[in-house]
């Protein structure tokens, strides 16, 4: 949670691109979804990502993703600069989910499965031929940017809900070790879309408030960080199960409201910048997860969320300022490379294991990225 004044996305009246149905990420396979060509099947194993076709016509493309492995997986279709054209998250072992992606332009794209939901994933090139009928003026591209990002937000919420449920369930059955393991994982989805979530000024303090935040009389310390403190410091308390239920209710409340949020391109760009501000002020400092010290999970998620917002705007950025995109690609990659050096298993080392030299390197990388990201809002409005 940031201390900045909530320049509420929800309250912004400037919405130029209101997003109605976000149909691209379907929670489960259903009849009639594949409006375009035949669905492309994806067999997502722990060590392979078999896509039944490597080419498709521009327009709506449908992937049916079947997780044949033992790890929870994700499937992505990426454009240039890892712009997420569409994704399904949190596909459990044995499950099948469908992804419908709007790809209006021909070109080379990338498919990727992410078994265990970590790393770059198992990637392969994917060719889209032809061009779908549409007008391609700047406003259309901006509208596509906001709708694309909205799909991203939706996909993250769809993963946030079940992952938080797992965390909450572990707390409620007094499974401290299990809950500790799930805490940073469930927060990942939250942290990726934090600026959008923060725009709901009533929900954010309940979900992500800190113990020392000033609250209205009668409002208690709840949410992730209260449970974090219980798990790592105080031990589970008599009201921990109630706090856990409240967290789940608040997350579901967020889910019900977030799809109606109108977003503008400037809000996307500023959201991308704010996520890096969060890293600089909350994660590199170890402030966010002060009991669990799992700050690097949140760090990575913030950067990923920032990149998703920038990537959604990428076609507009490329039109207006062609030198900015490659700089962004390089600086995002540099941050990820640096973070990979702090991997421990599927997660990261704890903040308390970092030396001042480590945090200095992280600050440098985030500064290097923050400057070009801060230019995006100006470029898309120029």
């Amino acid at each position: 949670m940031s201390r900045r004044a909530r320049t509420g996305i929800a309250t912004a009246a400037l919405a130029t691109a209101t997003l109605a149905g976000c149909t691209s990420t379907a929670p489960a396979a259903g009849p009639g979804d594949a409006a375009g060509g035949k669905p492309i099947s994806v067999r997502a194993a722990d060590d392979a990502c078999e896509v039944s076709a490597t080419e498709a016509q521009a327009g709506k493309i449908t992937f049916t993703v079947n997780n044949t492995g033992n790890k929870v997986t994700e499937f992505y279709l990426f454009g240039t600069g890892d712009r997420i054209m569409g994704e399904v998250e949190n596909v459990g072992p044995g499950l099948t989910r469908q992804l419908i992606v709007e790809v209006p332009d021909g070109g080379t794209y990338t498919t990727a499965c992410k078994p265990g939901m970590v790393g770059d994933g198992i990637r392969a090139p994917f060719t889209v031929t032809g061009t779908a009928a549409r007008s391609v003026d700047a406003n259309t591209k901006l509208a596509e940017a906001t709708s694309g990002y909205q799909r991203y937000v939706t996909s993250q919420i769809e993963a946030l809900v079940p992952k938080t449920q797992e965390f909450v369930d572990a707390v409620k059955r007094q499974d401290v070790e299990g809950a500790k393991g799930l805490f940073p994982v469930s927060r990942t989805y939250w942290e990726r879309i934090e600026p959008v979530a923060e725009s709901f000024g009533d929900i954010d303090p309940k979900i992500d408030g800190r113990e020392n935040d000033e609250r209205d009389p009668g409002v208690g310390f709840t949410g992730y960080h209260r449970l974090e403190k219980d798990l790592w410091v105080d031990g589970l308390q008599p009201d921990s199960p109630a706090i856990a239920d409240q967290l789940m209710a608040d997350i579901k409340n967020l889910q019900s409201r977030v799809s109606a949020v109108p977003l503008t391109p400037v809000q996307l760009a500023n959201g991308a910048k704010e996520l890096l501000d969060e890293v600089a002020t909350g994660k590199v400092t170890g402030e966010e997860d002060r009991y669990s010290h799992t700050d690097l999970w949140d760090f990575k998620a913030n950067v990923e969320g920032s990149q998703a917002a920038v990537a959604a705007l990428r076609p507009v950025v490329d039109d207006k300022e062609p030198t900015l995109g490659p700089t962004l690609d390089e600086r995002f990659a540099a941050v990820y490379t640096l973070l990979e050096g702090y991997r421990a298993g599927d997660g990261f080392v704890l903040y308390t294991q970092l030396t001042p030299d480590d945090t200095r390197r992280m600050t440098e990388a985030v500064d290097a990225l923050g400057e070009p990201v801060s230019q995006v809002a100006g470029v898309v409005t120029s």
Partner: protein, 417 residues
């Protein structure tokens, strides 16, 4: 310190001080000082030498040392070009870019950070230098420049009593910002640092709130935090022959890119002012070798009187003690060696132990740090009673190229030989 406390050695009488050949180090001709800028003036950015060296020392300093974080020489070059353009604008009292603070796209972060809006140029000078680590770091020739490293651009040795903190030392590049207004100096450094993100990163930086040296005879000698006039015998702008001999790198000294440039030695010197303040006036004056009020050498009456290092008091001891600061640092003691001091007083808050974190940020320009600064500091570190009250906590050496011709950029002669 223990039994061998330097303080106890004060007034210690040794054998006759063999100080033959005391040269006239103080007699500067008062030459035309008309080039001293007005307090709100503009110091020309371009010229034969970089501004900010013999420019009459401004009152405020912000010095920054940076590390280059890219391995790409072309990217470094692009930044130096961008820096030069912004530096030239800022020294003229302008924003980093036209309209940069408030007149560009309101949806974009301003190109200029804005805190100098409405302030005059304030004699801002920006002086650029490169450190040895730019040429080679951990045995790696990072930018294909290793052969261009001047042999005299090398790390300083460790001196007795040094408490050097690596986090306050070294650096691939430096920028010295001096101005009459601290806000102007900080604005300049901040904006250049910002432009560098992704190519450079700040290694350390130091603010100075008051000058401790004069670089022109037109200036009065200021005082350091020990309360004494400092740098009375400094090299000064009005003595061009001495500057060529002691300050400016001459053709043939080393690689041609540094000809007519200079080296700057930076030492962060923490002063234990609380301890000093309990020292009697007489002892303070003996330690320095000058009177505190006038600044005259002991035994003389006026600040610029020549120090008589041979004079003895009634009891036969040297009038200026053997271990007095001005004796050890004098050109007479050091074979004629002089430097151009351009240091600043600092107070970096407090130290958490109830004392001010105060001192002198020593900056000195010279033709050869190893022939000039090193012997001087060795002599001081070994014998200077003043060392009892100070400790050196940061250290760096940079080579500052000559001034820029029209259209040239910082480091161009190094990168495009």
């Amino acid at each position: 310190m223990t039994a061998l406390s330097r303080r106890r050695l004060l007034g210690w009488t040794g054998a006759g001080a063999a100080l033959a050949g005391v040269s006239a180090a103080t007699g500067f001709a008062v030459a035309s000082a008309g080039d001293a800028p007005a307090s709100a003036g503009v110091v020309p950015f371009r010229g034969e030498h970089q501004a900010g060296i013999v420019t009459p020392a401004q009152d405020r300093l912000h010095f920054v040392a940076l590390d280059v974080t890219t391995g790409d020489r072309e990217r470094l070059r692009a930044l130096l070009q961008k820096w030069t353009a912004a530096a030239e604008r800022m020294t003229a009292g302008a924003e980093t870019a036209p309209g940069g603070a408030v007149n560009l796209n309101p949806q974009a972060p301003p190109a200029d950070t804005g805190e100098a809006l409405g302030l005059p140029a304030s004699s801002l000078t920006l002086t650029f230098g490169v450190g040895a680590s730019l040429f080679e770091k951990d045995g790696v020739d990072r930018f294909g420049l290793a052969a261009q490293r001047p042999p005299r651009l090398a790390e300083l040795p460790t001196f007795t009593g040094d408490q050097i903190d690596a986090a306050l030392s070294g650096g691939d590049l430096c920028i010295q910002a001096c101005a009459d207004d601290p806000q102007v100096a900080v604005h300049a450094v901040r904006n250049l640092v910002r432009m560098g993100f992704g190519t450079t990163a700040v290694r350390w930086s130091q603010l100075g709130f008051g000058r401790t040296s004069s670089t022109s005879t037109a200036q009065a000698t200021p005082r350091n935090l020990f309360g004494f006039k400092d740098g009375t015998n400094n090299l000064k702008a009005e003595d061009p022959a001495a500057l060529d001999q002691q300050l400016w790198v001459q053709p043939g000294d080393g690689p041609a890119w540094l000809d007519h440039g200079s080296y700057v030695v930076a030492r962060r010197i923490r002063m234990h002012i609380e301890i000093w303040d309990r020292t009697s006036l007489a002892e303070q004056e003996r330690i320095i070798g000058r009177t505190k009020g006038e600044g005259a050498p002991l035994g003389a009456t006026a600040e610029f009187d020549e120090a008589d290092f041979a004079a003895t008091a009634a009891d036969g001891t040297p009038r200026i003690p053997k271990d007095a600061h001005i004796r050890l640092a004098s050109a007479q003691s050091l074979g004629g060696t002089r430097i151009l001091r351009r240091g600043y007083n600092f107070v970096d808050g407090s130290d958490g132990q109830g004392h001010l974190n105060a001192g002198l940020f020593f900056l000195a320009f010279m033709r050869d740090p190893h022939a000039q600064f090193v012997p001087m500091q060795r002599a001081l570190a070994k014998s200077d009673v003043l060392m009892e009250y100070i400790e050196h906590t940061g250290s760096a050496v940079f080579a500052c190229p000559a001034g820029l011709a029209e259209g040239a950029y910082w480091g161009q002669r190094l990168l495009e030989p």
